[in-house]
């Protein structure tokens, strides 16, 4: 295990290094001059030169890359051009909101996807199987921004069952202000016992979380089905059938746990994907997360901010993958032996 752990950690670090270089390379391709964007259109030549010096744009590229890495490691992720605040602070504020949204969506996705996958495997080749397979393919084919608009129009603007946009009712900030600990609104409201904000947040979460949940629910259902079918054709399932266990028991009591391992690995992949998919949903529901921040940054060609978002999500993906690999070792002893 220690050898495996060290090798896996080294690999992850190497990927993070590559991610930083690639982000830097993409950002240096920007045709618009970041100094111009920062100093404004009416800046004098002297102010421009000043801004260029401030951003180190006059240095040779390797020096710029070195400075970039040094600053990142020192915790300086640059200054956003449009909020004029440190990018790290902006991300620190926006990320928990995205995490809240995607977390809720993944819970929904697992709660729906796993039982559907079990049902499909149980009735393989019959009607329940076909309908689960078709609907999961439909779920991964739907354009999220369109689904978000449709649900918003029907259930929020039209029927008025859910709020149209935002994370919670802003007027509650006056009547029952929220103390921030984790920056995740629902969690903070829960631990401080702030019920008005908690219920408001939950009702604001429903629609966007459902939209984001569509894709992971579809993939989880497909993966659960495939893994269960494979697992229940192994020797142990034959023995269990011979002992008189019914097909449902063979699937849920004996095959489910080993079959969930690939599903777990999938979640890491789907997590980062859902964060980015959430960008589109956040834009529609005006959710104050990374997506809205990214959209604002894109509009103002805010290079440091875009680099920050890109880097954060990529590193998150690497960490999630690493966590799942290690977690799988804990859950499934067979992985450790490899």
């Amino acid at each position: 295990m220690p050898g495996y752990l060290i090798r896996r950690l080294g690999q992850a670090l190497l990927v993070v290094a590559g991610v930083i270089v690639l982000t830097f390379a993409v950002m240096r391709l920007v045709p618009g001059d970041p100094a111009v964007a920062y100093a404004g259109p009416k800046a004098t030549a002297a102010e421009l030169a000043d801004a260029r010096r401030q951003f180190g744009l006059d240095d040779p590229l390797p020096v710029q890359l070195w400075n970039y890495v040094r600053d990142l490691l020192g915790g300086d992720w640059g200054t956003s051009l449009h909020t004029r605040r440190p990018v790290r602070d902006d991300l620190f504020q926006a990320f928990p909101a995205s995490l809240e949204l995607v977390g809720a969506a993944l819970v929904v996705a697992l709660a729906a996807g796993i039982p559907l996958g079990i049902a499909a495997a149980r009735y393989k080749g019959r009607l329940p199987d076909l309908s689960v397979r078709l609907s999961s393919m439909l779920a991964v084919s739907v354009p999220v921004f369109w689904l978000a608009l449709a649900l918003q129009t029907v259930f929020a603007s039209g029927l008025g069952w859910f709020p149209v946009a935002g994370e919670y009712d802003a007027s509650l900030d006056r009547t029952s202000p929220l103390h921030l600990y984790t920056n995740v609104t629902a969690v903070d409201a829960l631990i401080t016992g702030n019920w008005p904000i908690l219920t408001s947040t939950l009702s604001h979460l429903v629609l966007p979380a459902l939209v984001i949940a569509a894709y992971p629910a579809g993939v989880v259902a497909q993966m659960t089905r495939a893994a269960l079918i494979e697992e229940s054709s192994r020797e142990h399932a034959r023995l269990e059938r011979a002992l008189g266990f019914g097909e449902t028991a063979v699937l849920t009591r004996f095959s489910l746990r080993p079959a969930l391992n690939p599903v777990l690995a999938l979640i890491a992949l789907v997590f980062a994907y859902s964060i980015v998919n959430g960008f589109l949903v956040e834009a529609v529901f005006n959710w104050p997360g990374l997506g809205r921040y990214a959209a604002d940054s894109i509009r103002s060609l805010d290079t440091p901010a875009i680099a920050g978002v890109t880097l954060l999500v990529a590193v998150l993906y690497v960490v999630a993958n690493l966590a799942v690999d290690l977690l799988q070792g804990v859950v499934d002893p067979r992985v450790r032996a490899r």
């Binding site: 590559g18 991964v140 084919s141 603007s157 980015v276 529609v284 894109i298 978002v309 890109t310 990529a314």
Partner: protein, 285 residues
């Protein structure tokens, strides 16, 4: 002596084959319809000029009816005609991305798989880095940097897409390279590039081809998302994601402007997914 009859398992042969094929066939037919719509758009669209920059201010925002099956948009263009022309844009992007990233990925993958050793390590570490960026994220960053256009969308998505094919091909090519006929070729003194191209490559292609058909839907969705964010196609190009973005403020009053382009994305991505899924199930058997 007679051979005892082989046991017959009800769940195996014909029924399963038929079921699997039906899925692939259904996906293929659906995709075929979309392709036909794209190819024949100039002839079957009721208002071919509306695929471009034509405007009919007097006919703006008409609801669906006999003259305009899908209604008309803000400037009076026929939404049905634009959806048909939009199929051209989307399929063109999908084919271009899959061709470029498929070719690049397969080439790198087959080299990595055959060569092994440090060449494989280097190529695989590079794909690791690219895979750490969810496709839409890196495309977003790239699309901001490049000027918004259909070409930008193709370039941005292709850059994020090739590593999948490189990995898949590398693992298949590695196992193909250990087979007898490759050894024989080597012993006969066939030069390495020729072995890779003539012997390893053709035998490593099937899984990639299936994956390509599965990925068509993903490319279409990503491209539509980029255009929706204003980073891809722009007016007057008929593009489904762009049409949704332009009509989104009208959703509550004039639902058809947004609904039909969105459905077109859904149907096309679905067709790719069903086809790919059917092919994959066949391959897995």
């Amino acid at each position: 002596m007679t051979t005892p009859a082989l046991p017959v398992y009800r769940r195996t042969p014909l029924r399963r084959l038929a079921g699997v094929d039906r899925l692939a066939v259904a996906g293929g037919v659906l995709l075929g319809i979309v392709v036909l719509a794209a190819l024949l758009a100039p002839w079957i669209a009721p208002y071919p000029d509306d695929g471009g920059s034509a405007t009919h201010p007097l006919e703006s925002l008409l609801p669906p009816g006999g003259d305009h099956w899908f209604g008309t948009d803000q400037v009076g263009r026929d939404v049905f005609s634009r959806v048909l022309f939009g199929a051209r844009t989307s399929l063109f992007i999908a084919v271009a991305v899959l061709a470029v990233s498929g070719a690049a990925g397969v080439l790198l993958g087959v080299v990595a798989g055959y060569a092994g050793g440090w060449a494989r390590d280097v190529i695989m570490r590079v794909t690791d880095v690219f895979l750490a960026f969810p496709a839409l994220l890196l495309s977003l960053a790239l699309a901001v940097v490049l000027q918004p256009s259909v070409t930008t969308v193709i370039v941005a998505i292709a850059i994020t897409w090739w590593p999948w094919y490189a990995r898949l091909t590398a693992s298949v090519a590695a196992s193909v390279s250990t087979r007898g006929f490759v050894d024989s070729a080597r012993c006969l003194g066939v030069p390495a590039p020729l072995i890779v191209l003539r012997h390893v490559l053709p035998n490593s292609l099937t899984p990639v081809l299936v994956q390509l058909s599965l990925d068509g839907g993903g490319v279409i969705l990503t491209a539509a998302a980029l255009s929706y964010l204003g980073l891809g196609a722009h007016e007057p190009t008929p593009e489904w994601g762009l049409m949704v973005q332009q009509g989104q403020s009208l959703f509550t009053t004039d639902w058809w402007v947004v609904t039909f382009p969105g459905l077109a994305i859904l149907v096309t991505a679905f067709a790719f997914n069903v086809l790919g899924e059917g092919l994959r199930a066949r391959l897995a058997r």
